[in-house]
């Protein structure tokens, strides 16, 4: 192996792949078999974290950064003057195996620029996965990018070797896509997604009848949207997201704050701050939809097209719906407990367990670990000391914010100015 040449390629092709935020390595059920290498039946593992605090779980690389498309938001776009490189199939296999054996990674996340055409590219991605599974008896995690426009046959094959498949829709709205990626069509993204969804459904129903049905993409599919490149509101983004969760049974939708990489006038200029706080609020909203039983219409709607930046979306919802509070911690159902600001799902679970043995008071709740700063105004428990004052939402908000040390405190005065100068991104 020519390590110097490999190092050069790795630097180029890892650098180009890093804008894909997914690093998930969980949700698969692939156990080690026949004394092979690897196991991805447990929970995901982050083997290290980059200096920007993101999890490193998979060897995340492009097969090549040669690309026939010219999408404005992408570093790999045809018109960008950068170094290009391409891995051979065997080189990716060797790197993956050797990294995995040293416990650096949970597996491989392989994406690619599109060279020649969609199928030609997809074929090579599938070839890597097939080699890993069949020649190396590799049971680690494999995430393959579905290339927009790839044929159904290839997508079928991809799912037989990969744990997860993903196509990034990148731009949340069709008008944005037209502006920034004129040679790409929404149908091309949808086509492989639809195929994967159907295959998963088919696998699940066949599995019930025939136990030996080959596993198909056990960790499901995911997608990603770039935030802050094309002027969508939070509502537009999250309604799109909710649609993809529902329509294509996505395991995850990722939100990636746009990192300026181009002087293109259609995009925020280089030096513009990455909208990390906004990204964080979108993820919080995503969590509320998936785990807390909220409906998207409760959180974002015509009256509230954007999330508040200074408080989290659950607190924001509670302040708009004070008539539901205070909640009695010893009586309320799981759904309502989950809606109390400052109480996460783990605490909900502990509260439900613990209250079977005694009525819970403030001391118990503190010990369980709820965030009293926020929660205290929204609940009653086994204690005569509770908030009796009828405060307005604005009063509550300033009380809570006065005592909370948000990690965004420094960032957010800055970001407000920033959004002010960029009309489509203005948040309320």
């Amino acid at each position: 192996m020519n390590f110097e040449r490999i190092k050069e390629k790795l630097n180029i092709l890892a650098d180009a792949a890093k804008y894909d935020v997914s690093c998930s390595s969980s949700g698969s059920k692939r156990a080690n078999k026949n004394k092979g290498l690897g196991d991805s039946s447990g929970m995901g593992i982050c083997h290290t974290y980059t200096e920007d605090g993101r999890c490193v779980s998979l060897l995340k690389i492009l097969l090549t950064n040669h690309c026939i498309f010219d999408c404005a938001y992408c570093v790999t776009r045809k018109s960008n003057d950068i170094k290009r490189a391409a891995f051979k199939v065997q080189e990716v296999v060797d790197l993956t195996i050797n990294f995995y054996r040293r416990n650096y990674i949970e597996g491989l996340f392989l994406s690619s620029g599109i060279f020649k055409n969609a199928d030609y590219t997809m074929e090579r991605l599938v070839a890597v996965a097939k080699k890993l599974r069949e020649e190396e008896n590799f049971n680690g995690y494999i995430h393959l990018k579905s290339i927009p426009g790839a044929s159904d046959e290839l997508m079928r094959e991809a799912g037989l070797y990969a744990d997860r498949l993903s196509v990034n829709i990148e731009i949340p709205s069709e008008k944005g896509l037209k502006l920034l990626a004129p040679d790409k069509k929404r149908e091309d993204f949808i086509k492989p997604m639809q195929k994967v969804k159907n295959e998963i459904i088919q696998y699940k129903s066949e599995k019930k009848l025939i136990k030996s049905t080959p596993v198909y993409a056990p960790a499901g599919q995911s997608t990603q949207m770039i935030i802050g490149a094309s002027g969508e509101t939070d509502a537009e983004i999250m309604y799109t997201s909710a649609y993809f969760y529902k329509q294509f049974k996505m395991k995850r939708v990722y939100y990636s704050g746009y990192i300026p990489i181009s002087y293109d006038e259609r995009l925020p200029s280089i030096g513009t701050e990455v909208p990390m706080m906004r990204e964080n609020r979108l993820y919080q909203t995503d969590w509320l939809l998936r785990f807390y039983g909220f409906d998207i219409r409760e959180l974002l709607n015509k009256e509230h097209p954007n999330l508040e930046t200074d408080i989290d979306p659950k607190l924001s919802w509670a302040l708009r719906n004070l008539e539901h509070f205070p909640v009695d911690i010893n009586k309320a159902d799981r759904r309502m407990l989950a809606r109390i600001p400052g109480i996460g799902m783990r605490s909900v679970h502990k509260i439900i367990q613990a209250r079977r043995y005694r009525k819970l008071n403030w001391e118990h709740l503190k010990a369980i670990g709820i965030s009293m700063n926020r929660a205290q105004y929204f609940l009653i428990c086994d204690s005569s000391a509770f908030e009796t004052k009828d405060r307005t939402a604005a009063q509550l908000k300033s009380l809570i914010m006065g005592t909370s040390g948000s990690k965004w405190r420094g960032a957010y005065s800055n970001q407000l100015n920033l959004f002010g100068s960029n009309a489509p991104l203005t948040t309320s």
Binding site: M1, F3, I6, K7, L10, N11, A14, D15, A17, K18, Y19, A31, N32, K35, G36, L37, G38, D39, S41, G42, I45, C46, H47, T48, Y49, T50, E51, D52, G53, R54, C55, V56, L59, K60, L95, N98, F99, R101, R102, N103, Y104, N137, G257, I259, P260, V274, M276, K350, I351, Q353, A354, R356, Y357, R358, L360, H364, A367, I368
Partner: protein, 256 residues
């Protein structure tokens, strides 16, 4: 001041279970189980030396698993691995409560249950960290070798994880703090004590112990770690929260 019956055991889990057996047999009024490593002589206490007895330990362990539950058993074992000075006290109380029918994995408003669940969480987190932070290096004897210094004694838990994962390669993980290792020989895992030279981590000595390709793969990994970073999102606070400095010593990507 009343007399305390002090049961001194060898610090192993079996030894602790043997102590529990004796406490149940003799029914002392005020009791304290102490590992010999931290036992201090006390004029007022009545001392008993507990001999680790596999049969007694098994009986207690079976009793815990059937009467209190499998999950409770797992929690008790994990909390024991925390090596915290209050572990024997908390665990004895938990076992007593459990045998009386108390649900020791559910009643989070009970102080002992809360402490137990905290210990379990701490050990679980450290175990997970070690699953992540182990960095194998391929030795010239074709053994993948790693060293760790976990905050708690998590290696027995890690051993199972690595056995499932690396079934087709020989590996050895050595705990530098507790001076023992786990070795997998392609068939089974065994606990080993070894002398490992101090210089094994130095770059001068590396070519002597490790394969030629090993250095290259470490170098590739370091490069990958750098290339995958996004400088405009730099957030060292978050980085350190996930990878505290005390773990850097054995992380190849963090070496200069």
């Amino acid at each position: 001041m009343g007399m305390i019956d002090q049961y001194i055991y060898d610090g192993t889990f079996e030894g602790f279970l043997s102590s529990v057996f004796e406490v149940y047999e003799r029914k002392p009024l005020v009791v304290k189980i102490v590992s010999e490593r931290i036992a201090t002589e006390n004029f007022f206490d009545e001392e008993h030396t507990v001999y680790t007895d596999q049969v007694k330990a098994d009986r207690v362990w079976k009793g815990i698993q059937t009467k209190i539950g499998k999950k409770a058993g797992d929690w008790i074992y994990r909390a024991f691995l925390s090596e915290k000075p209050d572990r024997e006290r908390v665990l004895l109380r938990i076992i007593k409560k459990g045998f009386l029918g108390h649900r020791v994995t559910e009643d989070y408003a009970d102080v002992d249950v809360l402490r137990l669940s905290n210990l379990v969480k701490m050990v679980g987190r450290e175990k997970h960290r070690m699953d992540a932070f182990v960095r194998f290096k391929l030795t010239k004897d074709n053994v993948y070798f790693a060293e760790i210094e976990p905050d708690f004694d998590t290696l027995p838990l890690n051993a199972i994880h690595f056995k499932n994962r690396y079934a087709d390669q020989k590996w050895l993980i050595y705990d530098r703090c507790r001076h023992y290792g786990v070795y997998y020989d392609l068939h089974k895992i065994s606990y080993v004590k070894l002398e490992i030279s101090k210089d094994i981590n130095t770059s001068e000595a590396a070519p002597f112990y490790f394969t030629h390709d090993e250095m290259h793969y470490q170098d590739l990994w370091k490069n990958y770690f750098k290339s995958t970073n996004i400088p405009s999102r730099k957030n060292m606070r978050l980085h350190l929260q996930h990878v505290p400095r005390r773990y850097w010593k054995y992380l190849s990507e963090k070496q200069p």
